[in-house]
């Protein structure tokens, strides 16, 4: 589904050029559960951003379902993101003035989905992520785990093919982190492709395929035999 070849990403920091990604080749199939680990600065978040179409590579080719997406305009990229990619962030990134429900609804609002359909999907999502009694709470009234569940529900609201999670447990205690991972694994179990960036080996080890990155390059790629 996702095919990266020769992806380069260079940042300019002052006078220096920093190679965040050096010639990354990667193919990810449907329904994979994959973790990307590595020390900070190894380029794992950059890679995730490029896969999520938030960032563009300086060189290389990115095919999403056989379609080259490197040449798309910003607005076309936004549309692809909206329809096919769900993001989960370390700091949740919930809109503080909106309720849990409204946060979950946001991608559907942006996509212009009919309010009746939105309501229907929202009911399902609230039930699926155990948030029914938290629907009208604002983020500051929710625990970290609940916030991240809201964020995952939001990511799932447009029924994307890929969920990209950048340090989803980075801001949670161990126990809550494992709960959140269980939620993400259920997404995978229900047919989603899940990519998790983490520097927590325990979290990374749960994935069925594990990438290690160092200095902008993929240095190891292990999979469970199934």
């Amino acid at each position: 589904m996702i095919r990266l070849s020769g992806i380069e990403r260079v940042f300019r920091v002052g006078e220096e050029q920093v190679h965040a990604l050096r010639g990354v080749d990667l193919a990810i199939a449907h329904r994979e559960y994959l973790s990307i680990m590595g020390p900070s600065g190894s380029g794992k978040s950059t890679l995730l951003n490029i896969i999520g179409l938030l960032d563009r590579p300086n060189a290389g080719r990115y095919e999403l379902d056989g379609r080259d997406v490197t040449g798309l305009t910003d607005d076309e990229l936004a549309r692809v993101r909206r329809e096919r990619i769900g993001f989960v962030f370390q700091f949740f990134h919930l809109v503080p003035r909106l309720t849990a429900e409204q946060n979950i609804e946001l991608p559907m609002v942006l996509a212009g989905i009919d309010p009746a359909e939105r309501k229907r999907r929202m009911g399902e999502l609230l039930a699926a992520y155990g948030l029914e009694d938290r629907a009208r709470h604002r983020p500051d009234q929710l625990s970290g785990g609940q916030c991240q569940r809201v964020a995952i529900a939001r990511a799932m609201s447009m029924r994307p093919e890929v969920i990209l999670a950048d340090e989803p447990t980075g801001n949670l205690d161990r126990h809550t982190g494992q709960e959140v991972m269980a939620v993400l694994e259920r997404v995978h179990h229900d047919g989603g492709t899940v990519l998790v960036v983490t520097h927590d080996p325990e979290i990374g080890a749960r994935a069925h395929r594990r990438l290690r990155m160092v200095d902008g390059a993929v240095v190891s790629d292990e999979r469970d035999r199934t």
């Binding site: 938030l54 910003d74 607005d75 936004a78 909206r82 993001f87 909106l98 609002v109 942006l110 212009g112």
Partner: protein
Amino acid sequence: MRFADLLAFAWQVVRGYRTRTLLILLAMGIGVAAVVAVSSIGEGARLYVINQFGSLGTYLVVVLPGRSETAGAMPGVLLGKTPRDLTIDDALSLKRSPAIRRLAPLIVGAGDVRVGARSRETPVLGTTAELLEIRHMKMAQGQFLPAGDPRHSQPVCVVGAKVAAELFGARGALGEWLRIGDRRFRVVGVLAVQGESLGFNTDEIVIVPLAAAQALFNTEALFRILVEAKSRESIAPAKADIEEIVRERHEGKRDVTVITQDAVLATFDRILRALTLAVGGLAAISLAVAGILVMNVMLIAVAQRRSEIGLLKALGATGAQIRLVFFTEAVLLALGGAAFGLAAGKIGQILIGQIYPAIPFTPPWWAVLAAPLTAIGTAVLFAVAPARRAARLDPVRALSRR
């Protein structure tokens, strides 16, 4: 994104940041209120002046014998020509015009006015009863000239306040007799002190019936005819009618000069309107300042909400959608500010009206329309830069900070 959702989203922002919303409402409101209040003061002053002119005989049209292209003071005399005289019949025939409310023919001369041994040289005015209303003169005592056919006259007169005091002293002039030339007149009224008006000091004149003045000065010719048009709008038709009627009666010669005060009034009107516009423009600058404040606040909002914008982008919002979100927010704030300002301006106008009840303070329609439109216009205009900045934000960098 649906329009209703867009509105709801912007509404949540407006509600979510109360202090910011209040600040903008205040700035916008003050701007709009200033425009409304200031322009209604200007408009009030304009109406006040027009009304004052109206009470002075704004609708006055003066007919002089002789044709002058320049409408000078005494056309025929200066040019050395002897135009055909204006007569009482000319004057009475003008009443045919539907645009004319009333008129007073005028004959002026100098007379030797005597009471017993006292004598005084004063201007003597021959006219009809209608002069009182045309010139808005006031009586101190007694009556003005009696109404009736101007061709016949009674031996009565009205004297100015100063004349009455000088000739009769403390005795009182009313009912006394005086002599002008070889004719005797009984004083039926004394004018209130009024001072200079239309070239005469009415305190120092004696007014006699028209026919009496004709006999006194041995002339048929009228000095001028004072005509009052029915309204401001009928001044022009009245002028045209006068010229037409006189031309008919004078064998096709337009040998009269017709002067209107409308020209003076129009100038005043223009000056005051320009003044209102100028002051309104000054107030509009305060609106522009409010617009700049909106821009600053919106720029701060963009900076504060970087991560939210990044998030919206990650969730699939296009640049156009982000711009629209910020625009809608600005327009909502401007609308609120405009409504607040209109209300405040109205209250201010009522308050000023209470303090100066004589002046009719009303905001002109263009101000009521222009002020909120300007507010919304400036808000949209000044939201362009922040909205564009928001739309251009790099989502990765916007999201990287908490």
